[in-house]
C-alpha cells in the first residue's frame, strides 16, 4: 500500500476506530422501514411465476400452453424456444483451465433439463397469484433420462449428467509444489515419511438459507432498463447482464436495495434475473419475480459438496513432511458465475498455518444432476481448513500425541513472518503461539482433559471430547494480478468516492455493496475518524450503479480490507484538496498547517479553519486559490498487493451422549486474530454468525436427494438450521497482529468463524468417542449417525 498520506492523518488517539458503535442501518432494518426488493411496487407491474422441471434429467418433448395462456390475468407464457434468440447462456466468469468444459446454460431450458427445478416456462400475469395458478396449467411432456446424483459415481462417467457432453468432467486443476518451485516433490516426501495417514473426507452439500429469498424487479420504462435485485453484486451483475444479453452496459442500471443476507448465495447471475429482465423488455412493463422459500432451497445455488481424498506424511517425531489433496468437486449441473473456481480457492489453504515442504493439490470439477454449487460463506477455505485440521487430528492419534502439541511442532513461528508458503502465498503477519496460548487459558484445556479422562475411566454415558482447530484463511479478495493469474475474468480492486456537501456533511459512496454487514456504520467511522467530522454527519451510499458507478461488491471478507481502504484513500485526497484551500483562506503556507479534529490550524498560532467552513467556502467559491476547482470531492480505487490472513485458535468441548448419539457443544472458545478492528460489536456479530454457520455444517445442515434427483430436504422441516437455543454461549477473544497489506492493518472477519469452527466441532465429537472405536463420522454428525457409528464400532470390536 503506497498511496496513503500518513502525514494528513491526525496522530492523536483515534475516537472512532475501535468503538462499538450501534449500527446506523439497524433502526431502519428492524422497524420495517427497510426497502427489500419484494416491497417494490411499480405502476403497471406484472408478476412472474416459473414452471420448473420435476425431473433431474429429461428431454422436453412438448409444452402445452393453451390452458395457461387462457387463464385469468395472464399476459404471456414463454418457453425456452420463445426466448432462444435473446437469453444467451448464463455466464461463468472463471474458466479454471483453458480446456474447461461446460454445457450451454439457457435461463429457460430448451431441449434438456439437467436438474430438478430447472425452469422450462415462465408465466407473466397481472398478479403473483394469477401467475402461480396459470403455472399449474402448463403441461410439459418429458422423456426421462438416466440421472447421476452421486459425485464419486459421476466421476466414473457411467451415467452422463448432460447428453451434450462426453464426460462429466469439467476440468482438472493441479498445483504441485515441485513444479511451482514452492517446495519439493510430494511422492518423494510421502515415500520418505515414517507415517502416512490416508483418509477420505466428505463435504456435504449445503444450502445458503439466507433470510430474504431472492427477488428481482425490472423496470424497462425510460431510457435505461433498471433492475432491482436481492443481490450481493449489483456491479458485477450489470456487467454480466450486458455481456450475456448484448444490452449496452450504459443502458442498464442495477440497484441492490436492502438485501437480507447472502452468505455467497446472492453472488450469482441467476436465470430468474435474466428472465425477469427479458419479460419486462418484451412486455414493456415492470415485472417482478420473488422466489418462494421452497424455490430458494431447491434452486438457489448450493455450497461445499466435495469428496476430499487426503494423504499426510510425517516423521515419527510429528514433523509433517507433505500433504496430498485429491478432490472431487460437485459443480451441479451447470457452472455458475464462479462455480468452477470455488474449490480452487481452497488450493492455497490446505497447508494452513503449517510449514511442511511438499504439497500437491488436484481437483476434478464434476457435473451431476443437481443444482449448481457456487460461493458459500468461506468458499473453498472451509473445505481446506476442515480437511487439514481433521488430518492433523488423525495424525496426532496415529502418533499418540496431543493435537495441540502436534500443531505447535508444525506451525510457522511468529518470528518467521513474512512466510512464503508451499502453496505459493506470502503470509505477511501472524502469531499462532499467542492466539493458541490465549485460547488454551480461556478454555481450561488441562482441566477439561482431566474431566475427559475421568468420564472415560468411569465409562460415563455422556463422554467429553476436545476439538481443536488452528486455522488461517486468505481474505480481502483480491489482488487483481493474482486473480488474473488464476484466469478469473475480473479484478479485485474496490472503488470509493468521498463528497463534501456545502454544510460540511459528507457522502461516502462505496462500491462494496453491503447486505447485512454494517458498512454504513463502519465506513462512517472510518471517514469520521479521518476527516474529523461527527459520525452522524457521514452518509454512506451504495448498491446502485447510478450512485456508485464503479465497484466489485461484497464477498470474500473483502469489504474493509479493500473497500474500506478505497474509502480512506479517497478521504485522504479530500484532506489534500482542503489543505490547499485552507492555506489560501488563512493566508498561510500549506507546510505550516496541521489537520486535527476536523480543522486546519496554522502551526504555532491559534488561527484555524474548520472543515465545514472550508466546505462552505468551496460551495460559494467566492475566494478560491487560482487554478483550484471549487469542489472537495474525490475518488480512489484500491487494489490490494496481497491477501490478508486472519487466523485463530478455536477449541470446542463436545459432549456426546453414547446412548442416543446426541451431541452438544459444552464450551466453545475462539481467539481470532483479525488485525485492527474498526467496530468490535460488528466483529463480534460476524464471529457469532460465522460460528453458527460452521457449527451448523458440522451438526445440522445437509441437502439430501433421493435417487431420482428430488431434493428431500426441501423445507426447513428437513433442512435443519439451528436457532439460538441450539448454539452455545461463545467465549470469544482476540489477539492482534496488524496486516501489512493495508494501511489500517485490518484483516477481515466475515468468514473466519465459519471456516474455523466446523473442524473444531467434528474433531471434538470424534475425540469424545474415539476410545470406543469410532474413527470417522460424516457431516452432519446427527445423533443417528453418531449412534450408528458407535454400534458399528461395538460390533467390530472397537470397544476397549
Amino acid at each position: 500500500m503506497s498511496t496513503t498520506t500518513e502525514s494528513a492523518h491526525s496522530s492523536g488517539p483515534s475516537p472512532e476506530i475501535g468503538k462499538s458503535r450501534l449500527r446506523k442501518e439497524d433502526a431502519r432494518l428492524i422497524t420495517g422501514r427497510s426497502r427489500y426488493t419484494d416491497n417494490m411496487v411499480l405502476p403497471g407491474m406484472l408478476h412472474l411465476a416459473m414452471v420448473r422441471s420435476p425431473y433431474a434429467h429429461a428431454r422436453i418433448t412438448n409444452i402445452e400452453l393453451t390452458e395457461a395462456k387462457a387463464a385469468p390475468g395472464v399476459f404471456a407464457v414463454l418457453t425456452g424456444t420463445d426466448l432462444a434468440a435473446e437469453q444467451g447462456s448464463l455466464p461463468n466468469a472463471w474458466p479454471v483451465t483453458p480446456d474447461q468444459k461446460a454445457p450451454a446454460h439457457p435461463a429457460v431450458a430448451i431441449e434438456e433439463v439437467a436438474f430438478a427445478g430447472e425452469i422450462v416456462a415462465v408465466v407473466i400475469a397481472r398478479s403473483a397469484a394469477a401467475a402461480r395458478d396459470a403455472a399449474e396449467l402448463v403441461d410439459v411432456d418429458y422423456d426421462e433420462l438416466p440421472v447421476v446424483m452421486d459425485l464419486e459415481e459421476a466421476f466414473t462417467d457411467a451415467v452422463l449428467a448432460h447428453t451434450s457432453l462426453e464426460s462429466n468432467k469439467s476440468a482438472t486443476w493441479v498445483f504441485d509444489s515441485a513444479e511451482a518451485g514452492t517446495g519439493t516433490s510430494i511422492e518423494d516426501a510421502l515415500a520418505a515419511s515414517d507415517v502416512v495417514v490416508e483418509r477420505t473426507l466428505y463435504q456435504q452439500r449445503l444450502i445458503p438459507a439466507f433470510m430474504e429469498p431472492r427477488s428481482t424487479v425490472v423496470d424497462p420504462t425510460g431510457e435505461q432498463i433498471t433492475m432491482y435485485s436481492a443481490t450481493q453484486i449489483p456491479h458485477i451483475l450489470r456487467v454480466m447482464l450486458a455481456l450475456t444479453l448484448g444490452i449496452p452496459e450504459s443502458k442498464l442500471r442495477v440497484i441492490a436495495p436492502d438485501v437480507g443476507g447472502g452468505f455467497g448465495g446472492k453472488l450469482q447471475v441467476t436465470p430468474e434475473e435474466i428472465i425477469t429482465l427479458l419479460a419486462a423488455r418484451r412486455m414493456g412493463k415492470p415485472c417482478k419475480f420473488t422466489e418462494t422459500r421452497s424455490e430458494s432451497l431447491q434452486v438457489g445455488h448450493h455450497g461445499r459438496a466435495q469428496v476430499q481424498r487426503m494423504k499426510i506424511g510425517a516423521t515419527k517425531e510429528g514433523i509433517v513432511t507433505g500433504l496430498s489433496v485429491n478432490l472431487l468437486a460437485d459443480m451441479g449441473a451447470y457452472l455458475g458465475l464462479i462455480t468452477s473456481g470455488i474449490p480452487i480457492l481452497g488450493a492455497f489453504m490446505y497447508n494452513s498455518i503449517y510449514k511442511f515442504p511438499a504439497y500437491r493439490f488436484e481437483c476434478n470439477n464434476i457435473f451431476t444432476n443437481k443444482p449448481w454449487t457456487d460461493a458459500y460463506r468461506g468458499a473453498g477455505r472451509p473445505e481446506a481448513t476442515f480437511a487439514i485440521e481433521r488430518m492433523m487430528d488423525e495424525l496426532a492419534t496415529e502418533l499418540n500425541m496431543d493435537p495441540l502439541v502436534l500443531r505447535e511442532k508444525n506451525w510457522i513461528k511468529h518470528t518467521e513472518f513474512p512466510f512464503a508458503t508451499v502453496a505459493g502465498l506470502e503470509y505477511d503477519t501472524g502469531n499462532y503461539e499467542a492466539a493458541t496460548a490465549k485460547a488454551v487459558a480461556l478454555f481450561d484445556y488441562d482441566g477439561l482433559r482431566a474431566e475427559q479422562k475421568r468420564r472415560r475411566d468411569a465409562g460415563a454415558t455422556i463422554q467429553l471430547g476436545i476439538g481443536v482447530s488452528t486455522f488461517t484463511e486468505m481474505c480481502g479478495l483480491a489482488p487483481s494480478r493474482v486473480l488474473g493469474a488464476l484466469n478469473y475474468a475480473a479484478g479485485g480492486w474496490e472503488h470509493a468516492q468521498v463528497r463534501v456537501l456545502p454544510t460540511g456533511n459528507v457522502e461516502v459512496v462505496t462500491g462494496s455493496s453491503a447486505h447485512g454487514q454494517g458498512h454504513e456504520t463502519a465506513w462512517s467511522q472510518l471517514v469520521a475518524d479521518r476527516l474529523g467530522v461527527p459520525f452522524e454527519n457521514v452518509e454512506v451510499l451504495h448498491g446502485d450503479t447510478q450512485v456508485s458507478q464503479r465497484g466489485l461488491d461484497t464477498y470474500g471478507s473483502r469489504s474493509l480490507t479493500v473497500g474500506g481502504m478505497a474509502v480512506l484513500a479517497a478521504a485522504d485526497k479530500v484532506i489534500e484538496k482542503a489543505k490547499v484551500i485552507a492555506a489560501h483562506l488563512m493566508e498561510a503556507s500549506e507546510e505550516d498547517l496541521d489537520f486535527t479534529n476536523g480543522a486546519f490550524t496554522v502551526r504555532g498560532t491559534d488561527t484555524s479553519t474548520s472543515f465545514s467552513e472550508i466546505a462552505f467556502a468551496v460551495f460559494s467559491a467566492h475566494n478560491m486559490p487560482d487554478g483550484v476547482e471549487p469542489n472537495l470531492d474525490s475518488e480512489a480505487t484500491f487494489d490490494p498487493v496481497n491477501f490478508s490472513y486472519p487466523h485463530g485458535t478455536h477449541l470446542a468441548a463436545m459432549e456426546v451422549d453414547t446412548e442416543t448419539g446426541q451431541v452438544k457443544v459444552l464450551k466453545y472458545v475462539c481467539v481470532d486474530d483479525i488485525g485492527v478492528v474498526v467496530n468490535p460489536m460488528i466483529v463480534e456479530g460476524q464471529v457469532h454468525g460465522g460460528l453458527a454457520q460452521g457449527i451448523s455444517q458440522a451438526l445440522y445442515e445437509e441437502a439430501v436427494y433421493d435417487d431420482a434427483g428430488t431434493l428431500v430436504s426441501g423445507s426447513f422441516v428437513d433442512y435443519l438450521v439451528p436457532g439460538a437455543p441450539d448454539l452455545p454461549h461463545y467465549i470469544t477473544a482476540r489477539t492482534e497482529t496488524p496486516a501489512t497489506s493495508n494501511q489500517l492493518g485490518a484483516k477481515g472477519v466475515g468468514e473466519a468463524g465459519t471456516i474455523a469452527s466446523t473442524p473444531a466441532i467434528v474433531n471434538g465429537v470424534l475425540d469424545a468417542i474415539r476410545h470406543l472405536g469410532v474413527t470417522d463420522i460424516k457431516m452432519p454428525c446427527t445423533p443417528s449417525r453418531v449412534w450408528h457409528a458407535l454400534q458399528e464400532a461395538k460390533s467390530t470390536g472397537g470397544v476397549q
Partner: protein
C-alpha cells in the same frame, strides 16, 4: 407460496359450521375446517391441499377453554397450545399435557395452534396425541347425526387419520384427572424447536415405594401414537429404582413400527424409544438425572 383460490366462511355457531360442511359435501366441494392454521395453511401454501372452502372455527364461542367436571377436565378443541402449557387447572390435574404442549414449536405457533387441531391433524410426530392416548382421553365430536364420544383407543386410526369423519367437528376433549400421579413428557429432537424424532409421555403412580401403575404413550413410533404396553406391564409392581425401570423400558419398542427418515432410521428409533422411555419414567418418578 400462494395457495389456490378458496372461499372462506367464519360461522359463529357449531350448527352453522355443520351446515356449511354439509352444504359443501352435498355439492361435492372440498371443504376444510380451520383451527389455528399451523398445519393447514402450510399445506395449502405448498398446494398439497386445495380446498374450495375453508370454514374458520375461530369465531365460535365456547370451543375454547377448560371446564372442571370434578374428576375430569373438559378442554375445548380450540384451546391454544400456549393455554395448554400455562393453564393452572391443566398444570394441577393433568401436567403431562402442559409438559407436552410446552415442547410444541415456538411461542408464535403455540399461540395459534390448538389442542383439537393437533389431535385431528394427527401427525405421527405431533406431541399432543401420545399424551391424550396415555390418559385415555375421550373425544367429543359433533356431526350431522348429533354428538358422539370416541375413546382414545379408537380415535387415532392411521397416518393423519382419526375417527373424526368428514362433516364432523371435534368440539372438546375430556381427560380424567391424574392427581397424585407423576408425569413427564420426554421429547428427543436434534434442535430445540423441532417435531419429535421420538417422544414418550409417561404417567406413573407410585404407592408405598413401588410403581403401582404406569401409562406410556409413544410419539412417532408408528403411523399413530401407541401405548408401550409391554413396558407398562413390566413397570407395574416395579421398584422405584433406576435399574429396574431400565429393564422394564427395554421393552418400549415392542409392537412399534417406526418410519425411517432424515432424522434416523427405524432401528435407531426403536433404540431411542427404550432410552427415551426410561428417561421419561425416571423423570416422572423424580429420579431425573439418573443415567445409567
Amino acid at each position: 407460496m400462494i395457495p389456490s383460490a378458496f372461499d372462506y366462511a367464519a360461522p359463529t355457531t357449531v350448527e352453522e359450521a355443520l351446515a356449511l360442511l354439509a352444504g359443501a359435501d352435498a355439492s361435492g366441494d372440498d371443504v376444510k375446517l380451520l383451527a389455528g392454521g399451523q398445519s393447514l395453511i402450510p399445506v395449502m401454501k405448498l398446494r398439497l391441499a386445495d380446498p374450495s372452502l375453508v370454514v374458520d372455527l375461530g369465531r365460535i364461542p365456547g370451543l375454547s377453554g377448560i371446564t372442571d367436571n370434578g374428576s375430569s377436565l373438559t378442554i375445548g378443541a380450540m384451546t391454544p397450545h400456549h393455554v395448554m402449557a400455562t393453564d393452572p387447572l391443566i398444570a394441577a390435574h393433568v401436567p403431562l399435557l402442559s409438559q407436552a404442549a410446552a415442547t410444541v414449536a415456538d411461542p408464535q405457533v403455540r399461540h395459534r395452534g390448538t389442542f383439537g387441531g393437533a389431535l385431528v391433524h394427527a401427525d405421527p410426530a405431533g406431541d399432543m396425541p401420545a399424551p391424550a392416548l396415555a390418559m385415555d382421553a375421550v373425544f367429543n365430536i359433533t356431526g350431522p347425526a348429533g354428538p358422539r364420544s370416541v375413546e382414545a383407543a379408537g380415535f387415532f386410526q392411521g397416518y393423519f387419520t382419526t375417527a373424526v369423519e368428514e362433516g364432523e367437528i371435534l368440539t372438546s376433549i375430556t381427560v380424567p384427572k391424574f392427581d397424585g400421579w407423576g408425569s413427564h413428557y420426554e421429547k428427543f429432537t436434534r434442535v430445540a424447536q423441532q417435531w419429535s424424532i421420538v417422544a414418550v409421555a409417561a404417567l406413573v403412580r407410585v404407592e408405598g415405594g413401588v410403581i403401582a401403575e404406569a401409562r406410556l404413550g409413544l410419539t412417532n413410533m408408528a403411523s399413530t401414537p401407541l401405548r408401550a404396553s409391554a413396558t407398562e406391564a413390566a413397570l407395574a409392581g416395579c421398584a422405584v429404582d433406576a435399574e429396574a425401570i431400565a429393564a422394564a423400558c427395554a421393552h418400549a419398542a415392542e409392537g412399534t413400527d417406526p418410519a425411517s427418515d432424515l432424522n434416523g432410521d427405524a432401528a435407531y428409533r426403536r433404540h431411542l424409544a427404550t432410552v427415551v422411555a426410561r428417561r421419561a419414567v425416571l423423570a416422572a418418578v423424580g429420579l431425573q438425572g439418573t443415567r445409567g
